[in-house]
Amino acid sequence: MKFILRRLAFYFVAAWAALTLNFFIPRAVPGNAVQAIMAKFPDLQPSAYRALEAMLGVGHPGSLWHQYWAYLDDVFHLNFGTDLIEYPAQVSTLLAQTLPWTLILVGTATVIAFFLGTGLGIVSGWRHGGWLDRWLPGLMFLQAMPYFFLALILIEVLAIRLHLFPIAQGYAGGLIPGWHWAFIGSAVYHALLPALTIVITSVAGWMLQMRNVMITTIGEDYVVAAQAKGLPTRRVVFTYAARNALLPQLQGFGLALGFVVSGALVMEIVFSYPGIGLLLLSAVSSNDYPLMQAIFLVITFAVLLANLIVDLLLVAFDPRVRAREAA
């Protein structure tokens, strides 16, 4: 419990840091959002300045301190303000429309990549120097490739040349999103290629890490002892070596997640996938500051939450953490 509480406190600090950064970045940079918009649309009258200020919430009355509290209150109530480009729409509505797409796609693909990579890592760590190791440079090549570039290649080969997958979008045009089979089937079909991209590019990272930890773990005395006792190989590999090698892997999961999410955001742009990455692109290209800031917060919070879940798993898997607590 103590461990979880300490981690919770840490995530609280991290969330607060993200919120504060998000608050101060627009105010610390010369030329605020309002001026940027005024510069972007030269036919706006100077009188629009105050209206824009009010709309963006930059012109909150009172001191900076006061504004800060008003801002925290807004975020707490999921009130991210009004969108600039799709004007009357609330930013939170836009987020609610796009977030599920990204969460389901990136979440599923990351979990698949994690299990696949860890499994391959176990095998190649145990059979060190075997045939899997010969593929390592190729895997490194995949790992080093930017997500969006692999996405471009896959679209070119699998979608345009071979017509195996749809080229873009999240579902076939003409379908109305809803809980009926035609739509769900189409959505799954359209998600296959993006998911494949994420799995291919991130599986190598998991595998390499697991392999290296596995090789080090296999040299430990308790693994040798297990082998000497004549335990079946399967038991030695999974219960003795892999279970312990998995812990650093889990700890790395949280940190790697930010990387995976970042890559997936850009990948979505290539696929015109209706997720949060595409929304981010449109926000960037139209200087839609409130939307951009809200997206930053949402992604950060999602990653923090995933990290918290990983910490809980760590407590479940690592007796040392529990032992430290009991002490």
Binding site: F10, V13, A14, A17, A18, L21, N22, I25, P26, V29, P30, G31, A33, W126, H128, G129, P137, M140, F141, Q143, A144, M145, P146, F148, F149, L152, I153, I155, E156, I160, N212, I215, T216, I218, G219, V223, Q227, V236, G254, L255, G258, V261, S262, G263, L265, V266, I269, V270, L280, V284, S285, N287, Y289, M292, Q293, I295, F296, I299, T300, V303
Partner: protein, 363 residues
């Protein structure tokens, strides 16, 4: 099993100057294969970055008005074809490699320097400072960097190379700081540091002469990692348009290819070269880093060239002795040849490699 005999020590006599070179070559040969191939591949790109813009056949921005040169596939005049506006892809690539590498290397140097400063300071100041600096690096590690980078870059008044370098360096140090802090804490407790302190050396001297030189391999690995991060992130940022779009980097090339529908028009020669260049540069850096890793932890080394005794490539002992799977019998000629090798002194059929050979392990 094969207990690798200790490698015969090099002749201790100090060699004259030409001998030093031979020794260097020997060191190079003993480097892990991955490190070597990574270094060679990276060297190729550095060379392209240095001389590339000079040897580029055309001005990368020159738009050839000839209608036949719109989206022309590769031929002798344009080795990598042309873009939709008749620009030469090869020239753009050669110019782009320089800009991207330049950015990545500067970010690597600045962020690594920051990481060393923060990491060493946290470990040496201790107490509250340590807690604070560690907390800050951990917070920045857990916040996903790309959305934050986008936010920062978008608010900056101009989005040039300098802005990207500043922002990437500003967010690229936490991981290195964490690793270097841990290492500094470990070194700080060693006897030789205590001894220097006893002789009355100043803290600065201890840091500069005793601590940091002992972390060189770690700092090098961190530098390689940071360069990798800088390449990937800067290309991704440029790809979504957050860069100076009138300059030629690998990222802006991909941006233009994407926004001009190169994919839909089937112009693979437009987007494959820059993407492949990024991927190959990344591979070179990953290989280099794995090589550095293997130097420090020989167990990770590629098994096939770890033991090369008596001319025959031998697999080292399995991680654990696998008693039920004896090695396949040799052919007659093979066993005759084998009788000359040193490892034939050990009967590998019986599997007597116990206790396990442990290469490079600290007690």
């Amino acid at each position: 099993m094969t207990a690798a005999p200790p490698i015969i020590a090099e002749p201790p006599a100090a060699l004259p100057a030409p001998g030093v070179r031979v020794q260097r070559l020997g060191q190079w040969r003993r480097l892990p294969l991955k490190a070597k191939s990574g270094a060679i591949l990276l060297g190729f790109f550095v060379l392209a970055g240095i001389i590339g813009p000079e040897v580029a056949p055309y001005d990368p921005s020159y738009q050839n008005p000839a209608p036949s040169l719109e989206l022309h596939p590769p031929d002798a005049a344009h080795l990598l074809g042309t873009t939709q506006t008749g620009q030469d892809v090869l020239s753009q690539l050669l110019t782009g490699i320089r800009l991207t590498l330049e950015l990545a290397l500067i970010v690597g140097v600045v962020a690594t320097a920051l990481a060393v400063i923060v990491g060493v300071a946290a470990a040496f100041l201790g107490g509250l400072w340590d807690e604070l600096l560690s907390l800050v690096s951990n917070v920045f590690l857990v916040i996903p960097s790309l959305p934050l980078l986008i936010l920062l870059l978008d608010y900056l008044p101009q989005k040039g190379q300098t802005a990207t370098i500043i922002v990437l360096s500003g967010l690229g140090w936490p991981w290195g700081a964490r690793v270097i802090r841990a290492q500094t804490l470990a070194i700080r407790g060693r006897d030789f540091v205590a001894a220097t302190r006893e002789t009355g050396e100043s803290t600065w001297r201890i840091l500069a002469v005793e601590i940091v030189p002992n972390e060189v391999s770690l700092i090098a690995a961190n530098f390689v990692n940071t360069v990798l991060y800088a390449i990937g992130t800067s290309v991704a940022l440029a790809f979504i348009g957050l860069a100076n779009l009138s300059s030629w980097s690998l990222g802006t090339m991909l941006y233009w290819a994407q926004s001009q529908q190169a994919l839909q028009l089937g112009a693979w020669w437009w987007f494959v070269p820059p993407g492949l260049a990024v991927a190959l540069m990344g591979t070179a850096l990953v290989l280099l880093n794995t090589g550095i890793d293997e130097l420090g932890n020989p167990r990770l080394r590629d098994a096939s060239h770890a033991a090369k005794i008596g001319g025959r490539r031998q697999r080292p002992a399995d991680p654990t002795p696998v008693l039920h799977a004896p090695p396949p019998p040799r052919s007659k000629l093979g066993s005759f040849m084998h009788s000359f090798s040193r490892s034939s002194l050990v009967d590998e059929r019986r599997g007597t490699g116990w206790p396990l050979e442990r290469r490079g392990e600290q007690p």
